[in-house]
């Protein structure tokens, strides 16, 4: 390769490297803000502010969904690997809200264990399969999300 071309090649590679390092540092510094939501373990560790609108996310623990028979009030527990957080909500839940499903809720922490949500979004997972496969998996004892309840 000729000298001047080599020089330009290094200039291009150097630019890409420099920009990557710069962007990497910025993203690293901002990572707290880029995370869409706090996990229950972050809340327990005191990382999430009280009385400020934030988002929390986790899996809905099966058997914890309690609906009020007279109003729209509903509460459920979300969990990540370590901690639990109770979410209170009084509006219509999304169609794909199910036990075992991941959700992201917007609202405020009333204390370290309770979260008052103003909106609940369902977080979908990356698994795609036909109904027969899902049934077969369930029969072999694999816990599955249910479409209808």
């Amino acid at each position: 390769m000729k000298k001047h071309r080599q020089k330009r090649l290094y200039a291009v590679l150097g630019t890409v490297f420099g920009v990557s390092v710069a962007v990497g540092l910025v993203l690293f510094a901002l990572s707290e803000n880029i995370n869409l939501f706090y996990k229950p373990s972050d809340v327990e560790a005191g990382k999430a502010p009280l009385d400020k609108t934030i988002k929390v996310g986790g899996l809905v623990v099966p058997g914890t969904v309690v609906r009020n028979t007279e109003t729209l009030d509903v509460s459920f527990v979300i969990r990540d690997n370590q901690s639990d957080l109770k979410v209170h909500f009084n509006d219509v839940l999304p169609d794909l809200f199910k036990e075992g499903q991941g959700i992201v809720a917007t609202g405020q922490l009333t204390d370290q264990q309770n979260f008052k949500a103003s909106s609940v979004l369902a977080k979908h997972d990356e698994n795609y399969m036909p109904p027969e496969v899902a049934r077969a998996l369930e029969e072999s004892g694999h816990p599955m999300k249910k479409k209808n309840d």
Binding site: T15, V23, N35, L36, H124, E126, Y128, M129, K145, K147
Partner: protein
Amino acid sequence: MAWTWFFRLGSPKWFYQIAGRWQPWIWGLTLIGLSVGTVWGLFIAPPDYYQGDLARIIYIHVPAAYLSMFTYVIMAVSAAIGLIWRMKMAFMFSISCSPIGAAFTLLALVTGSLWGKPTWGTYWVFDARLTSELILLFLYLGHMALYNASDDIKTADKSAAILAIVGVVNIPIIHYSVEWWNSLHQPASLSKLAKPSIDESMLWPLLIMIFSFKLFFISMVLPWLRNNILWRERDSQWVREMIEK
């Protein structure tokens, strides 16, 4: 020698003619691929156990999102080749990529948002994946604007090439956004390193669609590139001869 094909690629006239000959065949393959993939994906593949027929958007959304990043990488690599070897054709190719890449990005954003409403409960949320894909759209638009902003073609080539190269850092960010940060968007169902978390009966039409979208990209980029060649070589002998004929 092994390098001759590379330098021949650098000849606008040669490329213009050979691309013109290939074009109908590539278009034919693209149409066959897209029809097979669409029919397979929409009618033959089973619905998802959880989302039902809603999951079928995957056959458009994933290829569009994949191609939006693929096109950008190609655009940046050819911009770098243009800068290093001062190759006109590489610049022209790079310039021809951005409108197509922008279209793929927009398609990925729109289909994703239409899927998001019934699945997540919202059209849009500023999570890492969605935001970085939106930035990609702005990069494409900026690339087109920057190229067209300068009257001098050499300045235009160079400044657009530098933007393309700098913007390439966004590509790994889009790809890893769902792993590095908590996001609403789910992690990848398809990845080279792991067993796909999508059933085989849905995987095949998806792979066909991704392949056909790549062919579609080639079918789209060739006419753009040929137009750019004609416009920029308008003062050269062979273009004049061709027009006069």
